[in-house]
Subunit: 326 residues, 2 copies
Amino acid sequence: MRIVLDGMGTDRAPGIEMAGAALALRELPNDFEILLVGDQAILRPELDRHGDFPRERLTIEHAPDRVLPGTPPATVLRKQPDSSIVRGLRLHKEGQADAFVSAGSTGAVMAASLFILRPLEGVDRPAIGTFLPTAREPLLMLDAGANVDCKPHHLVQFAHLGHIYAQDLMGRAQPRIGLLNIGEEPEKGDEVSVEAHQRLAREPGIHFVGNVEGREIIKGDIDVLVCDGFCGNVLLKFYESVAQHFTGMLRRAGLADRPEMQETFRALDYSEYGGAPLLGVNGVSIICHGGSSPKAIMNAIRVAAQSVRSSMVEHIARELASKEPV
Amino acid sequence: MRIVLDGMGTDRAPGIEMAGAALALRELPNDFEILLVGDQAILRPELDRHGDFPRERLTIEHAPDRVLPGTPPATVLRKQPDSSIVRGLRLHKEGQADAFVSAGSTGAVMAASLFILRPLEGVDRPAIGTFLPTAREPLLMLDAGANVDCKPHHLVQFAHLGHIYAQDLMGRAQPRIGLLNIGEEPEKGDEVSVEAHQRLAREPGIHFVGNVEGREIIKGDIDVLVCDGFCGNVLLKFYESVAQHFTGMLRRAGLADRPEMQETFRALDYSEYGGAPLLGVNGVSIICHGGSSPKAIMNAIRVAAQSVRSSMVEHIARELASKEPV
């Protein structure tokens, strides 16, 4: 198995990527190689600084251009064909790699993934799945920002994508699917939520447990939270920032190093969860935070490898292509 | 000034309400009286348990019926005219009181307030304002759940309501107004957000600072956060539950009593902020959490009294009625 890692994605590229790759090659099961894509003049010297890993499993693929933060996503394909994002995704598309991981601009990675990998049959809108820590196991929320102005049938498709991801990657045999809403009753919410609830309730192949209010998320009673990309994005970014705020307060209070707080800190540490998969495209595309640590990069590579091993894409294709058109 | 307090609102009514009323009459400036509305057979004995407050400033107004949690809000007016909510709001409407405070079902209080007090001229959709703790001062978020499926001009009206509330009640001379969105750029977001941004940017009489992402909220750089009632409600409930989750973890770790954590706890304690005003109706209607403490009830009474003192309703009426119809 070969995994493309965009070498020029993080805010501190390529040092973080190189360290993440080295960590992944040392720590994870050794059934994969890494294609590190980026400017070889920058990547090669960096490589030499990370000696302590199986170098035979890392290849540098030259891509001279880099997508800078703030670049309009729609222009990347046309104007930056030699960027690490576009080159890396093409390697995956052409079958020279099995998965793609990038900590570059979310919008650019998403737009390029959609265009190059293409949505699977039966998927109108691929969605970004992301983990939210809860009082129990983390849950998968989707969509975390790929789609605003969703229609009810998009939310139903998100439910299927989440169902399969939770089965294949999170080890949940019968994932419990909830719909983000402002009340428990089926008739609560905006027009889209009301109709989505009705559709989800009669949708075969998923275990829909009903509406989930904002206050229920943290309990972790569900495995998959389905929502519009607008609310999902707001919620995700808010949660991240609140977690940072809390841990910052503990740090300032001198309580951060106490052993009894370590579990809390770990639960709130997004680097534990790796990247966010773009689900519903014909390929494995994992999007990482621009501020990722080497550990977060490693965990994203872990997620990519697991996605390939579990044949998640084939699983989605099989499941969604058989659905009646809406 | 006379303030109606629904005596039958909280989950543990009427003990909490009575304790809250007693606290308010002891602690707050003595320019108001309280009309405690509810079943006098239940309220009178409770009164005798709280001797230590100025009783001459508390009157019990009999209302034999009570709106139970889960009652469909739309039926309350027709089916429960003798409920504490309906009777209390009518006392306010008829001029026998200047404000109304209730910890009853949010939906019922909102529906009855809209019907009895009526929206002010120029306000299509009254909105629930609520405080969110931040790293700096709390901000006012609206709408917190009164309206889903908002149009752009509703969001513009929310901005004006928030502007006035922040001036009159929060002491912010020139409130900074932000629009909740998934990106900073004006073109980001769903259709409603994009148009709302354009309208807010050219709207006179408010200081619009642009889009605010989920991760920016906690920073407290703005005074008023404008959003759809769907996202607002999700965000509010999520924040409350996350705050409870964090403080619970600290408690279990035995760190809750440490003096350095007290400020954190206070910042996260919703009872500090009192109730949530329904803004844009012709009257003062303050909605409290069903799980309110006596302190939260007192703070809601404080907010009600401040609203009356500052002539907030007249201020809103003056400001909004002069707006061009949309």
